[in-house]
């Protein structure tokens, strides 16, 4: 059974204007997204800025209100029932910005122990022990416990954020661009560490990113989002080798090739894909510019192709 299942998720933000702040329209940040996460896998949500990938993640954890649709976590509907304590502790989040996501006035001990204090009644010694254990798990020294966030580098800060996220032994972690604020050299370090942790704790990741390299490195399955809707969903291999939707094709063609010999070829390819995209745009998107519903192409490959088939 799927660990997390989204069914026709909508998150709309009202646009207010005028003297009386009347609602004059909606920004449909997430406009009918359905997806499934199996236990233990890493699902990558990719898309350009404003495609609704972050909003989807935040809606799952409850930071954004869901307009309509269903979110099932381990078979339980998260919307109908109030999120119980048990459910809350099983879904945690890693934030994008390691600078603003740690309270500058709090010591590392207080930051990592915050979820523990809310969900478990530990004595001071037990709490300290748990935090030290978590710190060694994320590869930080025991001395860090009494330090303040500004004494750490970006990568170390992100590890503190990860330690906080895994403190309650969650099953699902929503990682919202976990490394986009870090140097490339540190990115790999944090990502590999997240992978190790996944094996160790049997975590399921919902990885949100715009970086196709990271997604390819990390994910088992990938969903491509565009204008609040999924345009294609498949295994990582399928997406990179056999993209079906023109938007996916264009996205994949934009990955730079490291070999300068291919420069001309890549440029020609990109030109071609762009032409294709401009020509067939109306064919692939309906009159409102939205992607069609996903259709099964293969066993594990879905794409939002127009009605008449491929």
């Amino acid at each position: 059974m799927a660990l997390l299942k989204l069914e026709d998720l909508h998150v709309h933000f009202p646009i207010r204007s005028g003297v009386f702040k009347r609602i004059v329209g909606h920004v449909k940040a997430v406009n009918g997204v359905s997806l499934e996460l199996k236990s233990g896998e890493t699902y990558g949500l990719v898309g350009e800025s404003g495609s609704g990938k972050t909003t989807t993640g935040r809606a799952v954890i409850g930071l954004n209100e869901i307009t309509s649709g269903k979110v099932f976590y381990a078979g339980k509907n998260l919307i109908e029932k109030k999120r119980t304590k048990e459910l809350r502790r099983e879904i945690q989040m890693i934030f994008q910005d390691p600078y603003s996501s740690l309270n500058p006035k709090k010591r590392v001990l207080d930051i990592i122990a915050e979820p523990l204090r809310n969900f478990e009644s530990l004595t001071k010694q037990e709490e300290q022990k748990r935090v030290q254990q978590l710190l060694s798990q994320v590869g930080l020294s025991q001395k860090s416990i009494a330090k303040y966030p500004h004494e750490f580098s970006g990568g170390q800060r992100q590890r503190i954020g990860i330690a906080r996220a895994i403190a309650l032994q969650p099953k699902l972690i929503i990682a919202d661009e976990p490394v986009s604020a870090l140097d490339v050299s540190v990115q790999a370090q944090v990502l590999n560490f997240m992978k190790d942790l996944q094996k160790e704790l049997n975590l399921t990741y919902l990885l949100i990113s715009h970086d196709l390299g990271i997604i390819r490195h990390m994910c088992d399955r990938i969903g491509i989002m565009y204008k609040g809707r999924l345009v294609e969903e498949a295994t990582a291999k399928e997406i990179y080798e056999n993209p079906q939707h023109i938007y996916t094709k264009r996205l994949i063609s934009s990955i730079p090739d490291i070999d300068p010999k291919n420069r001309g070829k890549m440029m020609a390819l990109r030109e071609e894909v762009k032409r294709d995209f401009d020509e067939k745009y109306n064919q692939y998107f309906d009159e409102n510019g939205l992607a069609y519903d996903l259709k099964a192409i293969a066993a594990d490959h879905f794409a939002a192709l127009p009605g008449e088939g491929q």
Binding site: G62, I91, N103, P104, K105, R107, N118, H150
Partner: protein, 286 residues
Amino acid sequence: MEHSGFRILWREIVRDKLALISLIFFMMMVAFVFGISLFLDESEIVTVDLFAIHEPPSSQFWLGTDYGGRDVFGQLIIGTRNSLSIGILVTLISGIVGITMGVVSGYFGGTVDNILMRILDFFMILPTLMIVIVFVSIVPNYGVMSFSLIMSVFLWMGIARLIRSKALQEKELDYVNASKTAGSSHLKIIFKQVLPNISSLIIVTMTLNLAANIGLESGLSFLGFGFPESTPSLGTLVSYARNPQTLEYRWWIWLPASLLILILMLSINNVGQALKRATDAKQRRG
């Protein structure tokens, strides 16, 4: 700002000699006034003594006597204590109300913010002076506490607005979201996460407010709406100067009190300005 906010504030005061001297002076003044007033008999000081009217300063009456033969030095000490108490109480009460309203309003935003800000607007348009004067005339015997309370009703709005704007900024930061996903309640987030991040702003505002609030009572007493003569304060002493005879020939009654008000307000203001500089890295001297 970083965790060492308090240390930065302290360092700025130490680097600014004037602020340091002002702080030491103010602390000593507070200790002195509250200490001495313990040994003074207030009822004896305010008792009229017809045989000692308008005495100039002497070894018996260090600062002479007023038109009721009351010792001015004793009145000065007790008056300073009363004025300081009012200043501190008003700052604390209006500060606590203002901070709570501001931080709740800013943190929740939306409808809560709208309602609280309209309540605030209502208090802003009240004619403060008129209501205080009416209050003073209808309440038969009021003292330091009731005076502080009525003044606080009209003084919490400024700090509430300031704190609200800062809280609006803070709540957008991810650490607030992180606390939410960690299962902390709104109350916990407001007071344990957001409030420490605006603490330096609170300290600066409260200090500058204190300087203003010490002069508050004096102003009203001078206009004749402050304390009665049976409750000495800096304001009642200064208001004796409304009599031209006293103003011209009996300086010892009003001059010490006037100077004390000036010095107290100045010294607190010096400290406040140093603290204010400390919150802006570009202006720091330390």
